[in-house]
Subunit: 452 residues, 2 copies
């Protein structure tokens, strides 16, 4: 791995990236004509001076010096070059000229380029970390199953931050930048083949090639879920996207929306949903219908969940399952006399771990239920942390999947991580749980349609 | 303060409440005919045995014993009785009968009753805490300016949990329960007169008396903002509300919606929004229009914010402000050459604290801007925690209010609390910040309309 623009100055991108690379298992070659050694590593005056082959080069130089630097890499036949520098097509005419020069340099070569204007790449499982934001400002998540491709560095970083909060791991995080060469479509196909990736999360401000994207998405989604946050939806958003990443909105958002729907891509609308939904789809890839059952010990959450599930205006417009007579009779024996055994099932503050366990068992046997939203409240007096084990055990019963909304975790922060580690999608609010349920149902419907 | 059903058994409601009361500055009288002393406090066999007047009695007994207990309180001329017991109108015919008996007992007396089926009352500033969920399961927030009235105990507890996370204080938290006597309308009027309350947050599953509510809301909202989460909106939600708190939906949700709008009540749709929006309205009670300006150092967040602000379908449908020529010229001198000085203003990763400060100053002088959404990212290399002081100082300049979305606070958790303590509304996602901006604009419009 070569780093062009390696720097001895703390805080400089060329220093941040060098530190991260040096921690990994790679042979690292800092390139800087003015230094002989940085961080104890021998410095090279140019890429051509590096002995042997170079698989990956990172260019962290001002835009003006970047064209020559990439030319050096092409001459050395470097496989992949990551250009972090900004100041290209996202920044006016001069930048656009530089970017087209960059493009000419690549022509006819085997060298592939990521960026420019990319925040880099993170692959926790292989300790590859070229992100230019240091770890103390943006702690990295552990290795996991979701791959993030992002046209914005900040959205990628916020993804990593939010993922960590849930103890959620990352397979790879790739900053797309201006997509001069390597495109989102190519990466979609690449990660579709990657057995370590269970779900691909995308932040895009534009499509490099709409037709290519549709083709790629249609190929990938029958095997793996894709979740997209496509911004630049509105006139102002679209204009802002242009000056941010040089993105040119190809068509109206309603066209984009229709295409995404047909391609089986799940669309979300903010950076939190992107994390929430890709987490759910990485864990649970199969829901057989739209009939949701809600269980809560807090009646208020049951009511709110029912509203958010049924309402199309302020909600997701799914169906609340009608429980079978057998289910109702069985539930009646399990819950307090005054509680409701219709859907939402209200366990009341009398709830205890084994009551919750038995109730879930009964519900999972009801053929009229496709998915269960479990409001897991840790505050009622007879509930213990063993309720978390109940949720995990019942989730392994694949017959009816469970999405959990967890409350009272302030005094038990490990609860969320334990659920996540056991592939149970868990959310801190009813709305976020309901949205995950909705995405899972949408994915299930798409997969059923594909089978026909 | 008398506690009927005081218990020596840890975990029992009568024990939880006694412990909390004993910590406060009150004279506490446990009532339990079978004990002589609990937690070192002398026990009384009945309310009538308590010497002197009783201002407040809490009844934590099974439903069947509650009617007699309340009768005792009425005979003693207790001012207010809080009945935590459940098993009344929310739980079928028998419960409804008990509730009407309770009602007869009150008739003709001066005693007022909160509940039944209420989780109690919390007033941090006077150390009054009758909540039946112990502090180790639900840590209490500090004293503050938002009063919460909730028909669901769990929603109230989740409010307290979420408030604490932001270092947000609470003026009072009142569980409404079945609203046999004391109603939401009466409490609205009460807290409207309370100088310590800056905003009232309501969770309701039904209105005790629709007409009375409208009257109360219309009286209160010109002075103080009311935020409501009204659930039981859908057929299933409404049926579930009936069995949860005995709530009977009086009219269709679209009627409710129209009435709330006319009465100047801000409506929200989940438990997180209730906290978010009441926090914003407690801090900022005045926005003069709908023209929003977005500033971000992360271009992606700027684009997303613009989308969420402009879009009516997946967003709030406000306007992105058109910056004046003067503003644009001034900004051009402050930000990097390649960044956009249109709205959203993009400070790029080159941002530093003083650049952000100067940019905010320029924007606050632009008459075409009514409110600023500031994306405060702590990850860029030249940003320090002093940027928080910038946000606070610029927020004090009341000319154009600022709502902050803060990113990268994982490594600086005190940032959120510092902003909150200085009355700067702060949110962890763009969407939540945009929704706060929208609620503030809605409130501003209502106040302008009222003045006419």
């Amino acid at each position: 791995v070569a780093l062009l623009g390696a720097s001895a100055k703390a805080g400089k991108i060329g220093n941040v990236v060098l530190r991260s690379l040096a921690r990994g298992p790679f042979k690292v070659f800092p390139v800087n004509p003015n230094e002989s050694e940085i961080l104890g590593l021998r410095c090279y005056s140019s890429v051509s001076a590096i002995p042997g082959e170079v698989d990956l080069a990172i260019v962290a130089l001002p835009a003006q010096e970047t064209v020559d630097a990439v030319r050096e890499c092409v001459d050395k036949d470097v496989a992949v070059v990551i250009v972090t520098s900004s100041g290209f097509s996202e920044s006016g005419e001069e930048g656009a000229k530089l970017q087209s020069e960059l493009s000419s340099v690549l022509q006819g070569s085997r060298t592939r380029l990521l960026g420019p204007n990319t925040m880099g790449v993170l692959v926790p499982s292989s300790q590859l970390d070229t992100l230019f934001i240091p770890e103390d400002r943006s702690p990295r998540p552990s290795a996991g199953e979701v791959t993030v491709l992002s046209q914005s560095g900040a959205v990628a970083v916020s993804f990593l931050e939010k993922a960590r909060k849930f103890g959620m791991g990352i397979r790879a995080c790739v900053g797309l930048g201006n997509k001069l060469d390597i495109s989102e479509s190519e990466l979609l196909r690449l990660f579709a083949e990657d057995s370590g990736t269970k779900c691909i999360a995308l932040y895009l401000e534009s499509f490099k090639d709409g037709g290519e994207f549709i083709d790629a998405a249609r190929t990938v989604t029958p095997q793996k879920p894709i979740v997209i946050l496509k911004s630049g939806r509105t006139p102002t958003g679209s204009r802002a996207a242009r000056s941010h990443t040089g993105a040119i909105a190809s068509s109206s958002d309603s066209v984009v929306d229709g295409v995404l729907r047909q391609s089986g891509v799940v669309r979300v609308y903010d950076e939190e949903e992107l994390v929430d939904i890709s987490r759910a789809l990485a864990h649970l890839d199969r829901v057989d219908g739209y009939r949701v059952c809600v269980v809560a010990s807090a009646g208020g959450f049951g009511v709110m969940a029912a509203d958010l599930i049924e309402s199309s205006e302020h909600g997701v417009g799914l169906s609340m399952a009608a429980l079978s007579e057998t289910t109702i009779r069985r539930l009646r024996e399990l819950v307090p006399a005054y509680s409701s055994v219709l859907n939402p099932v209200d366990l009341t503050a009398e709830v205890n771990d084994s009551m919750y366990d038995s109730v879930l068992e009964v519900l999972q046997r009801d053929n009229g239920i496709d998915i269960i939203l479990m409001s897991l409240e840790l505050q009622p007096p007879r509930v213990t942390k063993a309720l978390v084990e109940v949720a995990i055990r019942r989730s392994r019963d694949a017959s009816v999947p469970i999405v959990v909304c967890a409350f009272g975790t302030d005094t038990a922060p490990d609860v969320v991580e334990e659920l996540e580690a056991n592939r149970v999608p868990v959310y801190p609010t009813i709305r976020r749980g309901v949205k995950a349920v909705s995405a899972l149902c949408q994915r299930g419907t798409y997969l059923r349609r594909m089978k026909r």
